[in-house]
């Protein structure tokens, strides 16, 4: 083929590369290079003030068996660290629960917003407000609402008689994770609703009329017609949100700093990188965080046979 390719097609290929170049350079500078550096540091003994002198130490940051003497020894490193595994579990738990509720609520809101009613435009805009507020701001806002002494939530629940004494929502290990998830669900449900609404609007209206003539009741129409048709949109939305949720950092950093109950992989990595001056160890955590997200996402995409290239539509 190489020889038979025309001058025109070679010119096209060249201009295609030329147009792609700025993006490739940008991606390399902001994504590939930092990622590569992080992976490199995770195999060194780098610390914050001695980054240039970092020496290669193999997989010591991940796993190392230290012999204390005859027949005695202990594993060290990230993979042997219970706090790390706790934060992995926290992250996955947070992602699964939050994204599930966001999908469910987003779907319901999208179905409502897809109906004709007066003031729909206004409601559509209003629904986006929680998502438009910067996370730090909304987390601070909720922190005040959940405050154990002055928070409006405790006040309301007490007046309603739901609780007898104030609850320290964000400080108590029992409720900290729930508090974080409530804020995240409140904040990102609009994003879900919007993506699902876009999917709903792609469904042609005439097939609903066909379903009416076929005598299909509303719920069955939803299950047999609407849902299969918007499933691809829902899956894409779930992947986006899951990627986000697995990296969760800011809400937790503001709402519940330094709690085992809500420490996620990102929070763990940051602590080690900057607070404990274990830069190499933090890099190893970051690298594993990247791998965990990559594996989960790829598995999800393959398991749902997601149509990322638009071949089926």
């Amino acid at each position: 083929m190489g020889k038979s390719r025309s001058l025109l097609s070679r010119t096209r290929t060249r201009s295609a590369w030329l147009v792609l170049l700025p993006m490739l350079v940008t991606l390399f500078v902001v994504a590939a290079w930092p990622l590569g550096r992080t992976i490199w540091f995770s195999f060194t003994d780098a610390s914050l003030d001695l980054m240039a002198d970092a020496q290669f130490v193999g997989i010591r940051n991940y796993l190392e068996y230290v012999k204390f003497g005859d027949e005695d020894g202990q594993y060290y490193g990230l993979l042997a660290d219970a706090r790390w595994w706790r934060s992995v579990w926290n992250t996955i738990y947070f992602a699964v629960v939050s994204v599930s509720f966001e999908t469910l609520f987003g779907l319901v809101i999208a179905l409502v917003l897809n109906q004709q009613f007066r003031g729909r435009g206004l409601v559509r805009a209003a629904v986006l407000i929680p998502w438009a507020i910067p996370t730090i701001v909304s987390a601070k806002m909720w922190a005040w609402m959940m405050h154990d002494q002055f928070g409006i939530l405790n006040d309301m629940f007490q007046r309603l008689g739901l609780i007898s004494e104030p609850v320290a929502w964000t400080a108590s290990p029992d409720t900290a994770m729930i508090a974080v998830m409530i804020v995240d669900i409140w904040k990102t449900t609009p994003f879900m609703a919007l993506l699902i609404l876009a999917g709903l609007q792609m469904v042609p209206q005439d097939i609903y009329e066909a379903a009416k003539l076929d005598g299909v009741p509303a719920f069955r129409t939803f299950r047999r017609v609407t849902l299969p048709l918007i499933l691809p949109a829902i899956l894409v939305a779930v992947v986006f949100r899951t990627l986000d949720a697995l990296r969760v950092f800011d809400i937790i950093y503001v709402l519940t700093p330094n709690t085992d109950a809500t420490r996620t992989m990102s929070v763990y990595a940051r602590e080690n990188l900057f607070d404990y001056d274990q830069f190499a160890y933090g890099s190893a955590a970051s690298t594993l965080l990247f791998l965990v997200i990559a594996v989960i996402t790829i598995t999800f995409i393959m398991a749902t046979r997601m149509d990322l290239e638009g071949k089926r539509s």
Binding site: A210, K212, L213, D214
Partner: protein, 339 residues
């Protein structure tokens, strides 16, 4: 297998009435075509019969029973949509079976009905495919097949040929005509803006304009005795010449109508004299556009091939028995026979 009656039916959206006082009685097994320009209300009327639009005034009866408040699925109707309205994620078989499952038919019966409809429309090889793997014509056949499986009393078609190309449109038209032959007793209501479809398919045509019925009649009836200037201009291809000025005034009318095929053409003598502006040769016919002194632009049909050049002076004589005269408001003068 049922009569369809519309009694003083009207339709309003808020304060705007789009259909006014429609009265129609369609006989059992009849093929009726609603025709009219876009926005005349023909589709709305069909959708009201289907139950997809509320009837805001008057009454709809199917088989003698009032249907105003009956759900679409319980009216004994089937509908074929312009856009086909197939479920994109289901195979052809599932598309045809979905409504039957809902009607709680047994599996073997569903299979039998779908196969029967598929055989009738020659779409058996397509049963396992999804709609997007089909051509436009095949999709429309599946949509028709889906409508057949429901074994309806009344068959509704909403501009079913509009999305097909010209050749396919003719084939599918013939197929719908033969379907009507085979499904004896099934009343068919067909909406189109194309008067050729109306003329070729209909037992009776209902011409709608501006939300009112202009005329109801057999195709030949409408062709020969249009009840209004609108019908005269709408039915027939090419369009009737509608002339104003002295030629109409001499007859005491505002408009003088004469079809291109009812004008005799001569090089030597005739009632009107004029110059050829344009000739359109279709092979079977030649249409000559003549600028006539004192009469205006006249389109004349000449059978077969005619070697007439642009700029030539020609003579035209209208067939006096085929002249249609109209008042300024579009109503016809009683036909005048000029001997």
């Amino acid at each position: 297998m049922a009569k369809v009656e519309l009694v003083n039916v009207s339709k309003s959206y808020g304060d705007v009435e789009v259909l006014h006082d429609i009265n129609l009685a369609l006989e059992e097994g009849e093929f009726v075509v609603f025709v009219g320009p876009s926005g005349c209300g023909k589709s709305t009327l069909l959708r009201m019969i289907a139950g997809l639009e509320d009837i805001t005034g008057g009454e709809l009866l199917i088989g003698g029973e009032p249907m105003n408040d009956v759900l679409p699925a319980k009216r004994g109707i089937s509908m074929v949509f312009q856009s086909y309205a197939l479920y994109p994620h289901m195979t052809v078989f599932e598309n045809m079976a979905f409504g039957l499952e809902q009607a709680k038919l047994s599996k073997p019966e569903i299979r039998e009905r779908v196969n029967k409809a598929a055989t009738m429309l020659q779409i058996e090889p397509l049963l396992d495919r999804k709609p997007k793997q089909l051509s436009g014509g095949q999709r429309q056949r599946v949509a028709i097949g889906r409508a057949i499986t429901r074994d309806p009393r009344v068959f509704l078609f909403d501009e079913p040929l509009s999305n097909l190309d010209a050749a396919l449109r003719v084939d599918t038209r013939l197929e719908i005509a033969s379907l009507h032959e085979r499904l004896t007793g099934t009343t068919m209501i067909y909406v189109t803006h194309d008067q050729v479809e109306a003329m070729t398919l209909a037992d009776r045509i209902v011409v709608l304009n501006g939300g009112v019925i202009e005329q109801v009649g057999t195709p030949m009836d409408l062709y020969e005795n249009p009840a209004s200037q609108f019908v005269a201009g709408f039915i027939g291809s090419p369009k009737m010449n509608l002339l104003t000025g002295p030629v109409a005034e001499n007859e005491g009318a505002a408009t003088y109508g004469i079809r291109p095929e009812h004008i005799r053409f001569s090089r030597d003598e005739g009632l009107w004299i004029g110059r050829v502006v344009l000739t359109e040769r279709l092979g079977s016919d030649t249409f000559v556009h003549v600028k006539t002194e004192g009469v205006g632009m006249v389109n004349v049909r000449i059978e077969g091939r005619a070697d007439i050049e642009q700029g030539e002076t020609v003579h035209l004589t209208p067939d006096a028995r085929s002249v249609h005269l109209f008042y300024a408001d579009g109503t016809p003068l009683s036909r005048k026979f000029m001997q």
